[in-house]
Amino acid sequence: MGLTMTQKILALHAPGQDVQAGSLVECRIDLALANDITAPLAIQEFGKLGVEHVFDRTKIALVPDHFTPNKDIASAQQAKTVREFAQKEGIQWYFEVGRMGIEHALLPEAGLVKPGDLIIGADSHTCTYGALGAFSTGVGSTDMGCAMATGSVWLRVPEAIRFVLTGKPGPYVSGKDVILHIIGMIGVDGARYTSMEFTGDGLQYLSMADRFTMANMAVEGGAKNGIFPVDDAAQAYAKEHAGDIGTILEPDADAVYRETIEIDLSQVPLTVAYPHLPENAHSIQEAMAEDIAIDQVVVGSCTNGRIEDLRVAASILRGRKVHPRVRMIVIPATQKIYKQAMQEGLTEVFIDAGAVFSTPTCGPCLGGYMGVLAAGERCVATTNRNFLGRMGHKDSQVYLAGPAVAAASAVAGRIASPQSILQEV
């Protein structure tokens, strides 16, 4: 029986073990990641194991990004715990404030992810790296603590669902619209425990930024990981950032998939996910017909805080103003993206439009700080979750969208398509 791409990567990291779907395998890991919320508990659990040091100080990444720059005393204490552990253990990939970024944008950018790698992270959106043809998945702090000691993790080999992408997406339709559309089709548990394997001719129209966004949200369909083939675009990215194209693995021709779903990208509309689940997908036409007034817009996060996202948002805001009733918060995902936005003049566009332009942080996405919502407020966000109370008060609402719809909505003061804004000139 043939193997899927995910099974091939697991086999590479679990020599001699059976990697049929459903098997339990013990895998060697190439990188283990944690942040300022999950690392402190992982460090405590690591300390209970009785080992002297981490298994390999070059294979652990610690990124304080959720509540940093420290939002209060308690989060400062947590960040301090992570910093001191990193110093004591000589962790090579500790990223301090001022040099950091949102973990899932940062690690690929810093060249820590290569095709064929096996990466676990104490953050559910660790699945982002599947865009580069790596196997990556989220775990909890205890798993992270044990992995720091042993350099290995046990995993259940997932079944796979194959998504065959064809056609060319319409104007402004991005990876975010595609993945929201897919989650709308399959539901938030439609891919539970499985690997979402993306393939098809339509991939040529999806940039690496689009693919990172899609792999990032695989977990919102319940998946263990999302993964893309290592085509020219992925190889070019890996070469540029990691200096190495890693190990390129392809699924066998007779690989077994639980299901194959075809998506014609030309038919995917600009998509908005209504509160309180990412599966509540609606087309922009439906959303505009409901005339949904908003109070806040957030462009950023591990899902959509890349330079490509900021360029799209700025192209819509250029020469326009954020609606008087709306607060717009733009957060580049890394320091490098921040600087690039400045050099390209995007920062000026956002500030002239009346938006906030912030240092990298996960802050508002999870209702931490930098954009917490009050009761009754509505936000359009390029983030990944719109759960009850996710961005603040339990009576606030989050609508998920791509950067084009987010920027257009900021100008309109209600959920709007970019086309409706551009026509107004």
């Binding site: 931490g368 979750r385 759960f387």
Partner: protein, 168 residues
Amino acid sequence: MLMGGKVHIYGDHIDTDIIIAARYLVTFDEKELARHCMEDLDAGFAQRVQAGDVMVAGRNFGCGSSREHAPIALKGAGISCVIAKSFARIFYRNALNIGLPMLECPEAVDRIQPGDEIQVDLARGVIYNRTRGETYTTVPYPEFMQKLIAAGGLVPYTRAKLQEAGHA
């Protein structure tokens, strides 16, 4: 291993932000987290729940974030076991890793009513409904997982394994 108590019943897709909101993730103290468990959905839960109680829910329980604070909050609140139609994978793993058992049993979820008292026999994979006199069966955990839960989670279990291998 027997456990049980009164049930607390919820619906599908109970996410980790509901179980413990991110604004409380500035600590991993189980008693502190327990005070805010389920707060946005059911503000009275933390007051009502008693040691040994069982949470019952629909599909995809624990979806969302990888925060281990979610099962810690439930355990800290006194929940001894969660019975659901299905679980999100990271949450399921985290719960077992801290020694909080999760049972997948759609029949039990469909039958159990508010106010029922439940007892769970983990070794046999059997759920007893004391109020209705009903029994629901589920697949028992393999022996290693029963040991892991009895040991209190993955860390004490791994520590013992490391010592066996002479690494510590």
